[in-house]
Symmetry: C2
Subunit: 445 residues, 2 copies
C-alpha cells in the first residue's frame, strides 16, 4: 500500500474544528470530527476525508498482510447480493430490519450484505470439487451495511462499515479447528502490530451460529461494555515470537485461553474470584474489535458446498468465519490512545510519522530549512505532513496535538540561528532541542 | 499495495473452466470466467476471485499513484447516499431507473451512488471557506451501482462496478481548466503505465453536464463502438517525458488534441477526410476507459459550495469531474491483450510476473529445483505463481497460457539433467533453454 508519502497542509484537505461537535458522545467520534478525519454523510454513514482515509488504509494493510501470512487468499465479493441465497440458508427472514433490503428495476429482491457466509459458501461450492481443494481460507475487505435502529458513536457503530471477513473450508472438524487456530493466532498478531493490547474472550455465537467462538477485546476507559480478566494478559506479547502457520498452533490458543477473560454476558463472578487472585483481577471497559466462529456445516449443508473425500464420499465442508472491523478499529484505537489535547496515534497506523511545523512561514530561512527537511524526510522514506500555512504558532501546535502524529519537528528562526530544531514526542510529551541531523536520526529510528 | 508475493497453485483458489461459458459474448468475459478470475453473483454483479482481485488491485494502485502525483488527495465516500442532496441538484428524478433506490428502516429515501458530484460538493462546501482552500482536487476509488436494464459483457458493463472518480475545485474558470489539464495529462500517463495505447476524444457531456469533456479510448478489435482517428496517435508516448504538474500543461493537451480523433457520435466524415491523409486514417473499434468533464458551477451553485474571494465576494467554485473505470479496465485490457490461447497481461497489471511450472511434481530433483527457484524469485522481489499440482504437463501449459502471466519458467527432469530450464515469453511465444541463472536474470530484468 503506497500512499502519498508527503503532503503540504496548504494543499491538503483537513477541515479541523475548534469546537466539540454536539452530536458526538464519545472521544473517538469527537476527535475524528475535530481532526477533519470524517464527516457524516447521513445517519450512521461517513465520508472519510484524506487523513481518516490514510488511517483506514494503514489498518487495512496490516490486516491484509497478517491474513496473507496465515495463508488466506484475498477475494472481493460485491456489496449487493441476491436474496435467494439467504433464503436457502434460512437467514433472510431471521435477519429482520437490520438487513438493508432492496428491490431492483426488475423487481428482484436484493440486499446490501451485512456479512458473507452465504455468498462465499456459494463461491466455494462452485469452485471446489474434492478433498484436494481443502483446506482453503478466503477473505475480503469490503463495505457492509447494517441498518442499525439507532446508529451512534461515529464509526464505532455506523450503518455502512468497512470490515475484513474471512472464511475457512475444511474436510473434517479437526482440520476446521486447525484453521480456526490459525486465525486466532493471526488475530493476536494483527492487533499487536497496531499497537493494541488485545484479549480473546469466549463469546456467544449470535446470529452467525456455531459451537466455538471468541471475541477479541481491547481495553479502553470509554469501552462499550464491561469485561473481566486476569491482569497477566497485559504482559503477553504476540509479536515476541514468529508465528509458524505450518506448525500446531494449539499451544498458542491454549496459552491465550488459559487465564480467565470474559465479557459481561459470559461473566461468572464466582469462577472469576476462584480462578484469579484478587490483586490480578481486572474489571474494565472493553471494545470488541474482532470475532471468530467455527460453525461446522451450518451453511455448507443447506447450500450444498460438498467435496469428495479420498474414499469417494460427498461431505459438506466444515467452515468458520472470522471478522475484523476495519473502520471500527479507527475509532477503537482512538478510544485507547488519546489525551485531552487530541489523538496519540500508534506509529504503525499514524497517517504520517512526522508533523513538520514552520513557525514563521514567509521567513526565508525558515522556509528554506523546512523545504530542505521536507525533501530529506521523503528521501529517508519517512511520511511527513508539512504545516506550511500562514497561521499563528499556537494554532499550528494545537492542530498537531489534535491530529496526533507521533513526532513534531518544529522549525523557528531562533532555533535556526542556534543551529537547532525542536523535536516533540506526542506520546510522552517530551521536547528536545537538537541539531537537525540528530533530530532526523531520531524520527527515522 | 503489498500483495502476497508468491503463491502455490495447490493452495490457491483459481477454479479454471475448460469449456467456454455459454453466457459470455465477448473475449474478456469468456477469459475471466475461464481463468477463474471472477464469478457472477447475480445479474451484472461479480465476485472477484484471488487472481482477478490481484489485477483489480494493481490497476487501482497505478490509478492511485498517478492521481497522487498530479496533486489530488484521496478520500473515501460511502456507497449509500441520502436522496436529499440529489433533489437539490435536480438529478434525483433525472437519473431514472438506472439509479438503485433504497428505503431504509425509518422510511428515509436513500440510493446507491452511481457517481458522487453531489456528495463531494457537499463535503467541499462544509470544509472550505476561502480562496486559500482552492485549488483542491479530491478523488476516491469506490464501488458504484448503475441498475443497467440489460447488464452484459461481464465486468465491462456490470451493475456494481469499481471506479475512480475525482473532482476539482477552483476559484475561476481559467484555474478550472488548469485542473482539467492536470487530469488530462495524468490520465495519459495512467493508461500508458498499464501498457495501453489510449486516445483522448472530444465527447458529449451526457447526464454529468458541462462544456468541456474528453473520453479516453483504447483500441481493441472487440471494442464496443466505432472510432476514427489519425494513426500518428499510436506513435505518441505519454511516458517519454516526466510530467511536471507545476508547469503549464496546455501544450500537452494541445499536442494530444491537435489531430483528428472522434467517437461515432461526434464523428464528422468530411472533416476526417480533409484533416487526415488517407493512409493515416484509422477507423477501428474502441473501448471507453475514462471520461473527464469541466462543468463550472453546475453543482456548486445549487448546493451552495461557495468560497470567499480575496476581495470579499462569495463565488461558487468551478468544478470538474474525472472518472476511470477500474473494474471495467480489467476487461478492457483483456480485450486489447489476448490471443486464442488466453490472456496476455501487460507486465504492470499481471497478477504475477512468473508462472513456475513443475513438469513432474513428486520427482525429487524437480521438486527441489522448483522450491529453490520459488524461494529465489521471492528474494529477488519477483511475484511468482508456482504450479506445484500433480497434473499432466499439457494441463499445466494450457493453464499458464490461459491465465497469461508474462513469463513461464518450466522445470523438467530432462532439462535439469542438462543443467537448463525452459523460459517462455507469453507475448512473443518465444521459448529458450537456459541455465537457471540466465533465466532468472531475464525475468528480473
Amino acid at each position: 500500500m503506497r500512499l502519498s508519502p508527503a503532503v503540504r497542509l496548504s494543499e491538503y484537505f483537513m477541515p479541523t474544528l475548534k469546537e466539540n461537535p454536539s452530536e458526538a458522545e464519545i472521544a473517538s467520534h469527537r476527535l475524528m470530527l475535530r481532526a477533519g478525519m470524517v464527516r457524516q454523510a447521513s445517519a450512521g454513514i461517513y465520508s472519510w476525508l484524506p487523513m481518516g482515509f490514510r488511517v483506514l488504509k494503514k489498518i487495512e494493510q496490516i490486516v491484509r498482510e497478517e491474513q496473507d501470512a496465515a495463508g488466506a487468499n484475498e477475494v472481493m465479493m460485491p456489496t449487493i447480493q441476491s436474496a435467494d441465497l439467504w433464503r436457502k440458508s434460512g437467514r433472510y427472514d431471521d435477519y429482520g430490519k437490520e438487513m438493508l433490503r432492496i428491490t431492483d428495476r426488475h423487481d428482484r429482491e436484493m440486499l446490501y450484505g451485512p456479512t458473507n457466509e452465504e455468498l462465499i459458501t456459494d463461491i466455494f461450492r462452485d469452485g471446489a470439487r474434492s478433498y484436494k481443494d481443502v483446506p482453503q481460507m478466503l477473505y475480503h475487505i469490503q463495505w457492509k451495511f447494517r441498518d442499525e435502529v439507532r446508529p451512534r458513536f461515529g464509526v464505532m457503530r455506523g450503518r455502512e462499515f468497512y470490515m475484513k471477513d474471512g472464511y475457512s473450508f475444511d474436510l473434517t472438524v479437526e482440520d476446521g479447528i486447525k484453521s480456526y487456530n490459525k486465525m486466532f493466532a493471526s488475530y493476536l498478531r494483527t492487533y499487536a502490530r497496531m499497537g493494541l493490547k488485545v484479549i480473546p474472550m469466549r463469546a456467544d455465537t449470535g446470529p452467525i451460529g456455531g459451537e466455538n467462538s471468541h471475541e477479541f477485546i481491547i481495553l479502553a476507559d470509554t469501552g462499550e461494555s464491561e469485561v473481566f480478566c486476569h491482569s497477566d494478559f497485559l504482559g503477553l506479547d504476540p509479536l515476541a515470537e514468529k508465528t509458524d502457520y505450518k506448525a500446531d498452533l494449539q499451544p498458542i490458543v491454549d496459552k491465550w485461553t488459559a487465564m480467565y477473560a470474559a465479557t459481561e454476558e459470559m461473566h461468572d463472578q464466582a469462577r472469576f474470584e476462584s480462578e484469579v487472585p484478587e490483586d490480578k483481577r481486572i474489571s474494565a471497559r472493553g471494545i470488541e474489535v474482532g470475532h471468530i466462529f467455527f460453525f461446522g456445516d451450518k451453511y455448507s449443508a443447506p447450500l450444498g458446498a460438498v467435496v469428495q473425500t479420498s474414499d469417494d464420499k460427498q461431505v459438506p465442508v466444515q467452515m468458520g468465519s472470522y471478522g475484523i472491523g476495519v473502520s471500527r478499529l479507527v475509532g477503537a484505537i482512538i478510544e485507547a490512545c488519546h489525551d485531552e489535547n487530541g489523538i496519540i496515534w500508534p506509529e504503525a497506523v499514524a497517517p504520517f510519522k512526522v508533523g513538520l511545523i514552520n513557525l514563521r512561514t514567509g521567513d526565508d530561512a525558515c522556509d528554506k530549512a523546512c523545504e530542505d527537511i521536507f525533501a530529506k524526510l521523503q528521501v529517508m522514506g519517512v511520511e511527513v505532513m508539512y504545516d506550511d500555512r500562514s497561521e499563528r504558532a499556537g494554532v499550528k501546535f494545537a492542530n498537531m496535538d489534535l491530529i496526533g502524529l507521533p513526532w513534531q519537528l518544529v522549525v523557528g528562526p531562533k532555533g535556526l540561528a542556534n543551529g537547532v530544531v525542536e523535536l516533540k514526542n506526542r506520546k510522552s510529551g517530551e521536547k528536545q532541542e537538537l541539531p537537525l541531523d540528530k533530530a532526523l536520526e531520531l524520527v527515522a529510528g
